[in-house]
Point group: C2
Chain length 203, copies 2
């Protein structure tokens, strides 16, 4: 609890710096300064900048793509599953608003495609599509393109966190107000999902 190892201090500092500046913009000196150690220690614990980054990325990905999938199983209908996903996802996003940009900027790096493969998207195919086609067949939901729909839900959810600096600047709000706006957004998005998925009544 009250003992903090050097390795923990490094990881905490590295998280901050990599997330703020991205891989290329991050400086080992700044990480060392924030961890209140010297540069040589960084290389003692994690051989290189690349390896330190890898460690942080894996650690953070585990946070953003957590065991939501397991919990999703307990919800019956597809619509409820998606709404629950949004709720849970926003809990994480509001807690770690910098995460989306960190991940997006990493997977868009020219050379390293191997980061992409670390994204755990297995639960999509298992739960998402299975549940979708089940509810579609029984007429509980409208016939939309499941892939495009999934990308849309992700986009609606994540985008405000990617454009956060612009939103803050353009409408003139601070971090606290942004957080409130995102809190309110949950119900709005769930409403959109229901409006899209609920079949039109032909009675």
């Amino acid at each position: 609890m009250w003992i903090v190892t050097t390795e923990e201090k490094i990881i905490k500092a590295a998280e901050e710096v990599f997330i703020e500046h991205g891989y290329d913009g991050a400086r080992m000196q700044e990480i060392a300064d924030r961890a209140e150690i010297n540069k040589a220690m960084l290389h003692y614990y994690f051989r290189s900048k690349e390896m330190l980054f890898e460690k942080i990325f894996e650690e953070k990905v585990k946070v953003v793509f957590p065991t939501i999938s397991e919990q999703m199983k307990s919800y019956e209908g597809f619509t409820d599953k998606v709404c629950f996903f949004i709720e849970q996802y926003y809990d994480i996003l509001i807690k770690y608003p910098f995460m989306p940009f960190f991940i997006i900027s990493t997977i868009n790096r020219k050379d390293d495609k191997h980061f992409i493969k670390k994204l755990p998207f297995g639960f999509m195919k298992e739960i998402f599509f299975e549940s979708f086609f089940s509810d579609l067949q029984s007429g509980k939901i409208r016939e939309v393109n499941p892939f495009q729909f999934a990308v849309s839900v992700m986009g609606m959810s994540i985008f405000p966190f990617l454009s956060r600096p612009a939103m803050k600047e353009l409408i003139g709000i601070n971090d606290e107000q942004f957080q409130l706006l995102m809190q309110q957004r949950i119900d709005e998005l769930k409403n959109y999902v229901k409006l899209i998925l609920t079949p039109t009544n032909h009675a």
Copy 2:
């Protein structure tokens, strides 16, 4: 037509390199190589890396936020305006799929907030909100939060281009197939917009 000035060659090369690697990742040497000139020329035409980037950013922003706003005025209802916006926007996005990440990564840069102010969002307040409240009052559209709705439309539109590398890797498609997928996405998004905005019939 067939004469290409050195300045034009530099701009073309700089576009590519800045878009691929971002500001921090971009190297003046690589820009020089692609332009088939030497490094010194870059500084002769554009004093510094920062000023060259500024030039590219302004140029590119003019492409992505074009005179759509003017054309939007000709569409009567709010729903039609939004659908038209998606259509026009996707024309540009499909043509320049790297642009969203370029802009997002620029506005997320720690220090320089001044880039954000160059984003032309004036048309939003003028046309978007005015048309929204007009249609809302006459009962033509459902009562949603206009700001959250706008962010959602932007998110649904832009997100696939930000997660393009992941999408290509995870579902195993090439550039051509991605382009087709985005072409199909236009109608899907327009459908979502209509489903969200069309009021429920209480007859």
